[in-house]
């Protein structure tokens, strides 16, 4: 078996008496989308925070491309290729869509201590930024102020920014949240096409999207992985049905 791109080993996090994640171990292999599902409050966002480095883990380790990155801060992990999207849209509202993505390109290039050349006229940055916007289908909106984009467009822009950093793996925290049906469908297409080159860890509530995209699914309930397997296995897992899907199917 090839080395997983991302490997979590026994991650734990508590807030006082509240154990938010318990012994979470997950891998994401090359070319794979590994989805994490679970009811609200299961610890999904906390887990994302632990992986990207925003939240220190109480114990456990995070390996990225075989290297231990547990001690690295967010920015250093990101520089190594750990890209992410945020559950609550994190775009730069005063910048245009193009500038948002160009900043991602610039971050990847690592040359931000440049004081004189105009960044707006830096075609090296703009060209790559346009490619990312094209990938997600936002090319028609490059000059719009990001704050003025529709909510769905912001969700898509969020993904384009993450792509601009040429990540080796993507952590997607509910990318479909708040996106309309059209945008959701577009995101599913885009993510499906991207996964060949960029493996992903996908946290998502939209079950249709998860079932379409995921190669493997892990179910997180009360901070614990209660089941892990292929889409079919998870669909038919009685424990999962009871803990999670059962309530959804009843609706």
């Amino acid at each position: 078996m090839t080395t997983p791109v991302l490997e979590l080993k026994e991650l734990n996090k508590s807030y006082g008496a509240l154990h938010v994640t318990r012994n979470v171990s997950i891998t994401v292999g090359p070319g794979e989308i590994h989805a994490i599902i679970g009811p609200n409050g299961a610890g999904k966002t906390t887990l994302i925070g632990q992986i990207c480095g925003a939240l220190p883990s109480d114990s456990g380790r995070v390996f990225f491309a075989g290297e231990d990155v547990t001690a690295l801060p967010v920015a250093k992990r990101a520089m190594r290729g750990l890209g992410r999207s945020f559950q609550i849209t994190a775009i730069l509202p005063e910048f245009s869509a193009l500038e948002n993505v160009a900043l991602g390109v610039q971050a990847k290039a690592g040359h931000s201590f440049r004081f004189f050349r105009s960044a707006a006229r830096d075609e090296g940055l703009n060209e790559k930024a346009r490619q990312c916007l094209d990938t997600v289908g936002l090319l028609g909106r490059v000059d719009i102020r990001a704050g003025d984009l529709s909510h769905g467009e912001k969700r898509v822009l969020e993904l384009a920014i993450a792509l601009a950093g040429q990540p080796k793996v993507l952590l997607l925290d509910e990318p479909m949240a708040g996106a309309g049906p059209d945008e959701s469908a577009r995101l599913v297409d885009v993510l499906g096409a991207l996964k060949v080159s960029i493996p992903m860890l996908l946290v998502e509530h939209d079950m249709d999207a998860v079932f379409k995209l995921a190669d493997r699914i892990s179910v997180l309930v009360y901070g614990e992985i209660i089941a892990s397997g292929s889409v079919e296995e998870i669909r038919n897992n009685p424990a999962v049905k009871e803990a999670y899907l059962g309530s959804e199917e009843g609706v």
């Binding site: 990207c52 925003a54 801060p73 967010v74 920015a75 250093k76 990101a78 520089m79 890209g83 992410r84 945020f86 994190a90 775009i91 730069l92 509202p93 005063e94 910048f95 500038e99 160009a102 900043l103 991602g104 610039q106 971050a107 990847k108 690592g110 040359h111 931000s112 201590f113 440049r114 004081f115 004189f116 050349r117 105009s118 960044a119 707006a120 830096d122 940055l125 920014i161 993450a162 601009a164 950093g165």
Partner: protein, 313 residues
């Protein structure tokens, strides 16, 4: 109106008018206007540097007047030891300001929000009290300079008109420099960090060192303003670094319109002109200015340029 602000009409007009001040002064033999305009431009330089970190980077530094004092004292103390040459004193000013900014910035920028405001305020006070206890250099009373900085032995600084042009040139140069930096990759990081720090981190950019670099640039520029202020008044005093002065610099920046850079210059002009006019009516001009400031904050948030733009930034 938005178009007017987008292109360069306002700043170009502003600098052209400022360049014409000596012409006006010599035509009407109005020395007062020339001296007053010199003072305005010097403080505008300090306000400009503050807008760079406050407007672009959202660093609410409440100790920016410290650099005015540092620059002024560097000039004053060197003069007290009979060093008048600009090629010696100005590099010293730059070095001292940069050093102070680097050290205090490295500590302050570890903190956020209101902690940052207070810690910069405290560093400003630290500089202030240090100056008051320099009994060898006048202590509380300040230090009178018996002359002005020399430039390769010329009296470039001593002649009112040429000094105005020196100040004008430094202000224009600084403005163009900061404008360029604001548009660069570096400026983009600075502005991005203000909007969403977590996003920048997730892209692999730790804003700390960029903020620190900006903080040092602003400090050096304000230090230069201090050096010019010392030459203008031929006097150096701890009052240059009082926290009221830091507050006034923030007022200038906000009054002009946050983040436009030339807004800070407009703000400095508006502030000092208002002070001059009000204090012409009453010595208790602060009685009017205080409430006026409150009204501006409550009802005219975008400042002068924001009013043109039609909505606050």
């Amino acid at each position: 109106m938005t178009e007017l602000l987008k292109n360069r009409t306002v700043p170009v007009l502003l600098f052209v008018l400022l360049a014409l001040v000596p012409v006006y002064a010599s035509l009407f033999d109005d020395r007062f206007v020339l001296l007053f305009a010199t003072r305005i431009l010097i403080l505008a330089l300090a306000a400009l540097s503050l807008d760079f970190i406050l407007g672009l980077g959202a660093m609410v530094s409440f100790g920016h007047a410290a650099y005015l004092g540092l620059g002024a004292y560097a000039i004053g103390i060197l003069a007290a030891h009979d060093v008048w040459e600009a090629w010696i004193s100005f590099p010293v000013v730059i070095l001292v300001s940069a050093l102070f900014a680097a050290v205090t910035g490295a500590i302050s920028l570890k903190t956020r929000g209101v902690y940052f405001i207070m810690i910069t305020l405290a560093f400003g006070q630290m500089a202030y009290y240090t100056a008051t206890s320099l009994s060898a250099y006048g202590g509380d009373d300040g230090l009178t300079m018996w002359g002005r900085t020399e430039f390769f032995g010329t009296d470039l600084f001593a002649n009112d008109t040429s000094f105005y042009l020196v100040v004008f040139g430094i202000l224009l140069g600084s403005y163009l420099f900061l404008k360029q930096v604001a548009a660069s990759r570096f400026g983009r990081v600075l502005k991005g960090a203000r909007q969403n720090e977590a996003r920048l981190n997730a892209l692999g950019i730790d804003p700390f060192k960029y903020r620190l670099a900006a903080f040092v640039i602003a400090g050096v520029m304000a230090g230069l303003a201090g050096a010019l202020l010392a030459n203008h008044a031929e006097f150096v005093s701890p009052a240059y670094m009082s926290w009221h002065r830091s507050g006034e610099l923030i007022v200038m920046v906000v009054l002009g319109g946050l983040g436009y850079l030339h807004g800070a210059i407009l703000g400095a002009i508006a502030f000092l002109a208002l002070e001059e006019i009000l204090s012409g009516y009453t010595e208790h001009w602060r009685l009017i200015f205080g409430p006026l400031l409150i009204l501006v904050v409550l009802y005219a948030r975008g400042g002068i340029l924001g009013a043109f733009k039609g909505r606050g930034k």
